[in-house]
């Protein structure tokens, strides 16, 4: 029996179908193209959620499939956002500055325009010179290339250093967390050339598209995010299926054994780490124009830990689980912190959910880890008979260790 990609990965079909239907429904209900039941700001929230789902899927490939608990993928996400933000800010300031300079009696020289863009952007950190990192900011295509290259190179170099010296497990997690911390501390400095703790702002205004209402822009970005998520899902489903998928799952379960079988474990890990880093960067580049502002806080280690929380709650080791976890937790989080949830009066104390939401999240997260390690994705096992790992018939090999389906299951 020949097995096609889709029959092998049933979830791809269902995921794309659900995503398509969801996107159509949102479009029909939006202000721009439909009856306006969903406000523009909520369309933006949904669009951002799609980007978070994409980075969660990438995280799942790194963690759930390859067993690397990276606490640095939100740093790649943020870097992607910074890269696109640089172009957005430069191009938009250029339009504004050129307009104001054209009002003068003498037309401006290119140098004058460049200088006053610098003054506009960096006045807030007391400078007017363009730092070296902005060298490509004037060009959309070069900066788009940076969206892919900068997170990709960082992931490549960091991954190469870390995997080469065989740092694994929790040590690697701590190391990635340190990398994230170092990056965010670096960006917090004004000398970093990215406006220190002010970050980049005004990103929701696309240069040259001032006439287009935000409602239309939001739905356009929503669709772009949906397409990116769909493509990313297919890409990662393809990567994790087949022989490559088997090898990285093998690395997750017992790295030494895979190495002894002759696979170049470091190469596989590095590939997965870098690829997911790039996808995280792209997701960030789609997220921040919708968010409108990016600053170094977004890169702080806590963000990457939340990413791991989403994936864990959604269910590791299945792509749709990670995507659902990200959507579920981040939407729930914004609902709880918005203050829209009614308070619970206990007589002696009233529970304000804006104050208690993090406590609830922390406790329920611990509960999920202890009681339901499969997360939300595990619910699908109840309705479908098809398990992700088919039952083997016959001998399992020398011991139970040969059929571990869950990462970290005890080897007796």
């Amino acid at each position: 029996m020949t097995r096609t990609f889709l029959t092998q990965n049933r979830s791809v079909f269902w995921f794309l179908l659900a995503l398509g239907i969801f996107a159509l429904i949102v479009t029909v209900l939006s202000e721009a193209a439909g009856n306006g039941m969903i406000s523009t700001s909520f369309v933006k929230t949904l669009g951002k959620t799609l980007c978070l789902m994409l980075v969660a899927v990438a995280m799942d490939v790194v963690w759930g499939y390859t067993g690397i608990l990276s606490l640095g993928h939100m740093a790649f996400f943020g870097l992607g956002g910074y890269m696109i933000g640089m172009w957005l800010m430069y191009a938009r300031t250029e339009i504004i500055v050129t307009e104001s300079l054209l009002a003068a009696a003498i037309p401006p020289t290119p140098q004058e325009i460049h200088d006053s863009i610098g003054t506009q952007i960096f006045g807030v950190v007391g400078s007017s010179e363009f730092p070296a990192v902005w060298i490509f900011a004037h060009s959309f295509w070069l900066q788009i290339a940076m969206v892919v290259l900068v997170p990709g190179l960082l992931a490549l170099v960091f991954g190469w250093l870390a995997f080469r010296s065989r740092v694994t497990g929790v040590y690697l997690s701590i190391l990635t967390q340190a990398m994230t911390l170092a990056l965010s501390l670096y960006l917090f400095q004004n000398e970093s050339g990215l406006r220190g703790n002010n970050g980049l702002s005004g990103l929701q205004n696309l240069p040259g598209l001032d006439d287009v209402p935000q409602a239309t822009l939001s739905i356009a970005f929503f669709w772009a995010s949906a397409v990116a998520l769909g493509l990313g899902y297919v890409l990662f489903a393809w990567v994790t299926s087949g022989k490559f998928g088997s090898v990285i799952r093998g690395i997750r379960d017992n790295e030494s054994r895979v190495r002894f079988l002759g696979y170049h474990v470091e190469g596989y890990k590095l590939f997965v780490f870098t690829l997911t880093g790039i996808v995280a960067g792209i997701a960030g580049a789609l997220y921040y124009p919708q968010a409108g502002i990016i600053n170094p806080n977004e890169i702080a280690p806590i963000a990457s830990i939340y990413l791991a929380v989403w994936v864990a709650i959604g269910g590791r080791g299945r792509l749709y689980g990670a995507a659902l976890g990200a959507a579920f937790v981040s939407l729930l989080s914004s609902w709880f912190t918005s203050g829209a949830v009614p308070s619970v009066p206990l007589g002696f104390y009233t529970i304000q959910w804006t104050d208690w939401w993090l406590v609830l999240l922390g406790v329920s997260f611990v509960a999920v880890t202890l009681l339901a390690p499969k997360g939300i994705g595990g619910l699908f096992d109840l309705v479908t008979t098809r398990h992700p790992v088919p039952e083997r018939i016959g001998d399992f090999g020398p011991d139970k260790g040969a059929r571990r389906t869950v990462e970290g299951e005890e080897e007796k």
Binding site: E112, A182, L358
Partner: protein
């Protein structure tokens, strides 16, 4: 001729005689008598004549003299026109209340018309002030002497040198004597009479280290920038500057312009303004406005305007370069004597070497204290993570719980020392309990899933953080240290360390000893090590691994609580204080080497020294220091993946 000579001689004799007689009779005289002898000079003092009065007063040694000098300068001495006697007077209505100059007792009143205020001018008052300094410097009251010295060191003047020098002899207090001698040295270096005296004084200063001595030397070495076609003859040149190396070409040219040696260069903005002013029907100087959007077009238009004489000629790059090449830029000492500046430079160099050494020592102390803070924060982790292998992201929150325990205890027990004594064991108890509860409820189910332990404990960490925020609010809470921990141990002007840091260092040492003792010398330690190495075998030997794990985790958490009290004393208590230390703590354990208390010590030492070392090169930017430190650690792990103190053999566990 002879007559004239005789007359002059008589005149001089006549002038001198009363003075010499007065001096001779001073011993038995009172102040009023001396003043009467010099009545004219006292009543209308001039800068020249006042000297004789002051000399006479000084020589008399009467106790009322300093007060009189003070009042004299303050314009509260009056002369009564009737008998010419001097009084201190205070205006009361139309009359003056008089008091006797010698005794200070009330001496009746006098109508305003009879009294003349004595008004010494500024020059005279300065002379009086100098004389007064001498009195103050030898005042029997030590507080006044100290005040006078303070005043001098605040604003040193040339004429204070003599009185200061004179006052040294009678000084009885050893501390003040030393201060006086130092001040004399510093004043002599700046205001000494002869070149030799100044050089000698400067050389004597070179074995000091204090800030004020360095300030004196820097004052002597003050320079002013200069520019000329050639180096001026006879000037005391500090150094010549090369444009492009020592100062930018723009700065150098600006200096030329300021000295009037070159025309000012036009900035692009000025050129643009000039062009805008001269727009003439769609073109400037014959160049259409549309072409002014390039540098070349603007240059052409400006050149045309300059040719027509409407604007000054453009200063080109070449002009600037020739102007710079034909002038020398230099720095010139304000002190003209090169022997003195050389001596001062030499002395300053010597001092700076010593200051650098002391700074290194100070940096070492800082690094040691930072290392002990990291060690305290990480030592609990060294047990839970290092020995047990449990990664506890809530460790930082245990530190926070300890600090808040200290805060709550201080609210109940107002005495800071007592509350600290109560808080330390109580913090241990609270976090020990929290640690045991966490181990029982969460961690023991996850011993074989380390990554999930990380995440579950992180969940606990955010819950605890938010809980602390809900209870104590978001603002920082003070944890006040007892007064005997305030202040600092000051070794000299450069080296000092706060007492609280010493206390933390001592606490870290105590914990190091305690942990080593518990792990290596007690039954509990033996069982902990056994369970860590092989739980199954340990269980077969009659050890209960569950109980041991629980106790070990409790111990590690309890130490975090005590560290929290110590860190709270030194920093602020907030709900996020734990999060600030958690990454550094893990770094400390990982860099030092997992599973070894000595490793944690080495890791804390390395990170502390490193961070202070990097901060030394860029003191304004602690963020950069942290960034570079983390990068260094990432690289360090490349070369020693198992940390500084790597366990070998069976103990390594793999």
């Amino acid at each position: 001729m002879l007559r004239a000579l005789f007359l002059a001689l008589a005149l001089i004799l006549g002038l001198c005689l009363p003075a010499s007689r007065a001096v001779a009779q001073d011993a038995g005289q009172d102040l009023q008598a001396i003043l009467q002898t010099h009545a004219e000079e006292v009543a209308s003092p001039g800068r020249r004549s006042v000297g004789t009065v002051i000399d006479a007063l000084t020589a008399s040694g009467l106790p009322g003299v300093p007060l009189f000098l003070e009042r004299w300068a303050d314009r509260s001495v009056y002369q009564r026109s009737g008998d010419g006697l001097f009084y201190y007077a205070e205006k009361q209505g139309n009359e003056y209340a008089l008091s006797d100059i010698a005794t200070g007792e009330a001496a009746g009143t006098a109508p305003a018309s009879e009294m003349t205020e004595i008004r010494p001018n500024g020059g005279v008052r300065r002379v009086i002030g100098t004389a007064l300094v001498q009195f103050q410097l030898s005042d029997p009251d030590i507080a006044r002497r100290t005040a006078a010295l303070d005043a001098i060191s605040r604003s040193p003047e040339a004429d204070q040198l003599e009185p200061l020098r004179n006052s040294i002899e009678g000084e009885t207090d050893a501390g003040l004597l030393a201060r006086k001698e130092r001040l004399v040295g510093m004043l002599a270096a700046r205001y000494g009479d002869t070149q030799e005296a100044r050089i000698a004084a400067i050389e004597a200063l070179s074995d000091a280290i204090a800030v004020d001595v360095r300030a004196v030397l820097n004052q002597i070495l003050t320079t002013r920038p200069g520019v000329a076609a050639e180096l001026p003859e006879g000037a005391n040149i500090a150094r010549t500057l090369t444009p492009g190396d020592d100062l930018t070409e723009a700065e150098a040219y600006a200096q030329l312009v300021e000295a009037g040696l070159a025309p000012a260069a036009q900035t692009p903005a000025q050129i643009k303004a000039a062009l805008t002013d001269n727009i003439d029907g769609g073109s400037v100087g014959g160049v259409p406005i549309g072409q002014l959007a390039t540098e070349a077009g603007r240059d052409r238009a400006y050149a045309a305007l300059a040719d027509a004489g409407t604007v000054p000629a453009r200063v080109t790059e070449d002009d600037v370069e020739t102007a710079l090449a034909s002038h020398v830029f230099y720095e010139e000492y304000t002190e003209s004597d090169s022997a003195i500046t050389d001596a001062a430079r030499e002395a300053l160099d010597e001092i700076e070497t010593r200051v650098a050494l002391n700074q290194a020592l100070d940096l070492g102390l800082d690094a040691l204290s930072l290392a002990s803070i990291y060690f305290l924060a990480a030592i609990g982790l060294a047990i839970t993570f290092g020995v047990m292998g449990v990664i506890n992201m809530a460790h930082g929150e245990f530190i926070m719980m300890g600090a808040y325990t200290g805060y709550v205890v201080q609210q109940i027990i107002p005495d800071y020392t007592l509350s600290l004594i109560v808080a330390l064991p109580l913090a241990f108890a609270v976090t020990f309990g929290a640690g045991v509860a966490m181990e029982r409820l969460v961690i023991r189910w996850l011993y074989h899933r380390p990554l999930e332990t990380l995440l579950a404990t992180f969940g606990i960490s955010i819950a605890l953080q938010q809980l602390a925020k809900n209870i104590f609010g978001t603002q920082a809470r003070p944890l006040t240290s007892p007064s005997w921990l305030d202040g600092a141990w000051v070794i000299n002007d450069v080296v000092s360390i706060a007492n609280i840091r010493i206390a933390i260092f001592v606490l870290a040492l105590i914990f190091l000893g305690l942990i080593l003792f518990v792990l290596n010398k007690t039954r509990l330690g033996l069982e902990v090590r056994a369970v860590t190495q092989n739980p199954g075998m340990a269980a077969s030997m009659g050890i209960n691994p569950d109980k041991i794990n629980m106790l070990t985790f409790g111990l590690g958490s309890g130490i975090a609580g005590i560290a929290g009290v110590a860190i709270g004393l030194y920093a602020k208590v907030t709900s996020e204080m734990g999060a600030d230390y958690i990454v550094q703590s893990f770094m400390t354990v990982v860099v030092g080497g997992v599973g070894n208390v000595w490793g944690t010590l080495a890791g804390a030492g390395l990170i502390g020294i490193l961070q202070k070392g990097i901060e030394f090169f860029n003191p304004s930017n602690t963020l950069a220091a942290q960034t570079y430190m983390i990068l260094f650690i990432i690289l360090f792990i490349q070369f020693r993946p198992k940390g500084i103190v790597a366990l070998k053999g069976r103990a390594a566990g793999d």
